[in-house]
Amino acid sequence: MSSAALHATPSGHDGAAATHEQRALGFWLYLMGDAVIFALLFATYVIMVNNTAGGPAGKDLFDLRNAALETVLLLVSSTTFGFASLSARTGNRGAVVFWLLVTFALGAGFVFLEIREFAGMIAAGAGPDRSGFLSAFFTLVGTHGVHVSMGLVWILIMCGQVMTKGLSVPVVSRLFRLGLFWHFLDIAWVGIFSIVYLPGLL
């Protein structure tokens, strides 16, 4: 994270670029670990989906319109993050901050819809303690929601860094990794609407 680490890179032709690559690989390995976590939560959900213990099933709880709206928000936010990355490459600080804030707003909208859905389910007596199916549902979708919320915090931090430090090499390198994280979360969401919401409403 510190610029001191940048200078400590082995005497390559371009120390800063080499560090950026190494950190991108390190972060990529973290994302692959996260992918394994999500894959196993998906497996748990598929195994538990029929264990409703006489309680409500997906058909009674899920709302197609809500899931579609969440999907749109996250997909558009992935694209607006791409615009932020492009603006960073052309060195346009104001545009980077603008697109990061748009991404933040869309992501916050997503989290709001998810919290509203969760609160509605819990109020209707369909909380995670109701059945194995609902435990698996809240764990899987909640884990994704926590990731998105962490991403929102990270976006705000990067907004602050772009404004105070400018588009320095370390800041752009962090923006790049935040992009990997944000796009990855959109892929995880594709899995969620394809395995949880759509089959549940068939």
Partner: protein, 102 residues
């Protein structure tokens, strides 16, 4: 990164359009019940798989030329791990389910 033109605006917009199409089709099928459940499930699965590939290519810019070999190796290794763990879990749990039900 400046020498990789396919990372530009076009890439994100193509990705967005393809993702919207691949999202709209399964949502439409579920909303209208246009297909019997088995076929609808198959369609949802295919659309999801394609959309993941679209995201990897147009948003994460994964390809076989500019992506470092280590990253591709990591993703292949992860795919093998997931196949073993998820496949193994299904195998054990569904086998158990069948035996318990009889």
């Amino acid at each position: 990164m400046e020498n990789q033109p396919d990372h530009g605006l076009r890439s994100y917009l193509i990705g967005l359009i393809l993702a919207v199409v691949l999202t709209a089709i399964p949502f439409w099928v579920v909303a209208t019940h246009a297909l019997p459940p088995q076929r609808a499930l198959l369609l949802i699965g295919i659309a999801a798989l394609l959309q993941v590939l679209v995201h990897l290519k147009f948003f994460l810019h994964l390809n076989f030329t500019s992506t470092p070999k280590e990253n591709l190796l990591a993703i292949v290794f992860t795919a093998v791990l997931i196949f073993i763990m998820v496949g193994g879990s299904f195998w054990i749990m569904f086998d158990l389910h069948t035996r318990m039900a009889v």
